[in-house]
Symmetry: C2
Subunit: 353 residues, 2 copies
């Protein structure tokens, strides 16, 4: 028999968790005054555990790898309840070094992948430009990671909301200030940075990132087929092509408390993107915005049970879209008091109490 | 006795002309489905005839100079009917050269000004940085033009709309497709590029310009006191500080038919602005947009009578805000069949027929 569950927060984690629980036969209500208005709205949507490895977050990697492996199920679950597009693509990632110094990133990546028995393809500039003719002839080299996936977060969350409705999930637009007042058997706290107001000991901070939306002119579409991650003078930049001709360019990382896109960030992203693929100059400039990702002291999420009635699922930082596969599946398992599919001890929500 | 007048178009020209005519006792109606949505909305608002001289539009210069001299009256007229702010400022302009090659622009400017008996102050980099401490120490030199004024177009047009209402002007939101149907004694065609649809022989084309709106952080305000026009590797860029802490950066010039801001334009404006004043990196990035200015083959406006009932006033190109002083005063004079304050023969609307 299903139980009555309240999910606080309608970002990528709240929505995927709610859908998973509804599919398992529970009576789910999602509470959010403004669904998909936080970090999810501004996210890139790369599902690229291997490419992310360059940030050297070793304890995070098994979680990312597991989550990527759960993603096809999550997409299938969404499609079971909604025929809206998710922007799910499996074209893989190219990781590109702008100059010889940036090639150290590629070397680190290769080394890490060899350690983990993963397959990547090292490319010369010429080979890389066969995959992506828009890449600058001035790049120093590249690797191709065939297995990486992506979604388009703004599409995917619309599909998720539709799927939730069709799976019987109820939505309320009330702001939840006190989870004790919720009339539910189980509560999932999945409202990103807002979780600080509900569970006082969660050590969450906003990590801002500037991100741009461009549109590729019709005569140049598709400018890129793969997600391209670049390193330009040691700065990371990613270029995510979409089927609606938009191109997402991201993302800076800053903790300056400034919620608007910053001139410096916009300038840097455009400069570095144009260095990697000069034809980006020819795109329409649609939007510059900044998202606030919920960061934790050790960059690992808070995912686990904190009392008989309450499960916390937040702090996914820069990896919320990728980790939604894990968050939804393991979050649902924790709610059902089952053993999770992967060891979550590193994600204990009480570890910074 | 006043006559019944229809003004087609509620941009800067239509509004200032309507207000002038209403103040002279006429019964004025302004027709526009979407007031202040065209070139005016995206304009910088510099009232800087001397600084504009670098574009070497000799026949335009007397018009710009006359218009600038009419502006205090236009501001006073607006204030007679509205107490809303106009953003009118008289801090003057600094024209800055980024490198030694860019100093040729300053030399040309000085030469032109000497010919016309005007006063400008040549500054060393050190002197320029006394006026504006935000200027880069790497600039090659500057001139200061104390007489230049500015308005903030989005504020000024709101004040103008309020003033028009208080002066008895009627507004209708109908789109005018045929001026013959207007029940008026006199008609003023002042709807920018839209005038092509009403008077077939006007040779108007859209000239697009990318323009950015930034916001200066509180602790750095005011980042600039003067309007700063820069030349960076021969490219012009202008920085217009506003009292609401915003900073307008403009503007590219392109005739590629693309109505959205372009990635290249945004990148170029940011790069050149940061070259001139590095602290611009610290600003919030609010907006990138593109305006379509109504250009004519000779860059001169169309301002004059085309028949007993119809006066044309459009084609003000990049100078619509500055030339509104002239457009409003001389336009009203032409409507009243008086001799205009300045010779308008170069502005004959039939000259490209």
């Amino acid at each position: 028999m299903g139980v009555i569950i309240s999910v606080v927060g309608a970002g990528i984690i709240g929505l995927t968790t709610a859908l998973t629980l509804a599919d398992r036969g529970h009576a789910v209500t999602v509470h959010d005054p403004d669904p998909v208005s936080g970090a999810t709205y501004f996210a890139g949507g790369m599902l690229a555990p291997t490419a992310e490895v360059v940030y050297k977050q070793d304890p995070l990697f098994p979680l990312m790898k597991a989550s990527a492996s759960y993603y096809p199920d999550l997409i299938a679950l969404t499609s079971k309840y909604s025929d809206k597009p998710t922007g799910y693509r499996t074209d893989g990632t190219l990781v590109v070094a702008r100059d010889v110094a940036d090639k150290t990133h590629l070397a680190e990546l290769r080394e890490y992948q060899e350690q983990h028995g993963m397959e990547v393809e090292t490319l010369t500039t010429r080979q890389a430009r066969k995959y992506e003719s828009a890449l600058s002839p001035a790049i120093a080299g590249a690797v191709r990671i065939a297995g990486d996936h992506q979604v388009q977060p703004r599409l995917f969350t619309q599909a998720l909301i539709d799927a939730c409705h069709n799976a019987g999930v109820t939505f309320t637009h009330e702001k939840i200030d006190d989870i004790d007042r919720l009339e539910a058997d189980q509560v999932v706290v999945a409202n990103g940075l807002g979780a600080r107001d509900l569970v006082s000991y969660l050590d969450l901070r906003p990590v801002y990132g500037d991100v741009l939306q461009l549109r590729v002119p019709e005569h140049q579409y598709p400018l890129l087929d793969h997600v391209v991650r670049g390193f330009v003078e040691d700065r990371p930049v990613y270029l995510i092509p979409r089927e609606d001709r938009t191109l997402t360019i991201g993302a800076t990382t800053r903790e300056d408390g400034r919620a608007e896109a910053q001139a410096q960030g916009v300038f840097q992203l455009l400069r570095d993107a144009i260095e990697i693929a000069p034809a980006i100059e020819e795109c329409d400039f649609l939007e510059a915005a900044a998202g606030a990702r919920p960061g934790t002291p050790d960059d690992l999420p808070y995912l686990g049970r904190i009392d008989e009635r309450t499960v916390v699922s937040t702090g996914y930082f820069r990896h919320g879209i990728l980790l939604a596969g894990l968050g939804a599946r393991c979050g649902a398992e924790v709610v059902e008091k089952q053993a999770p599919s992967i060891d979550l001890s590193a994600c204990d929500p009480r570890r910074h109490e």
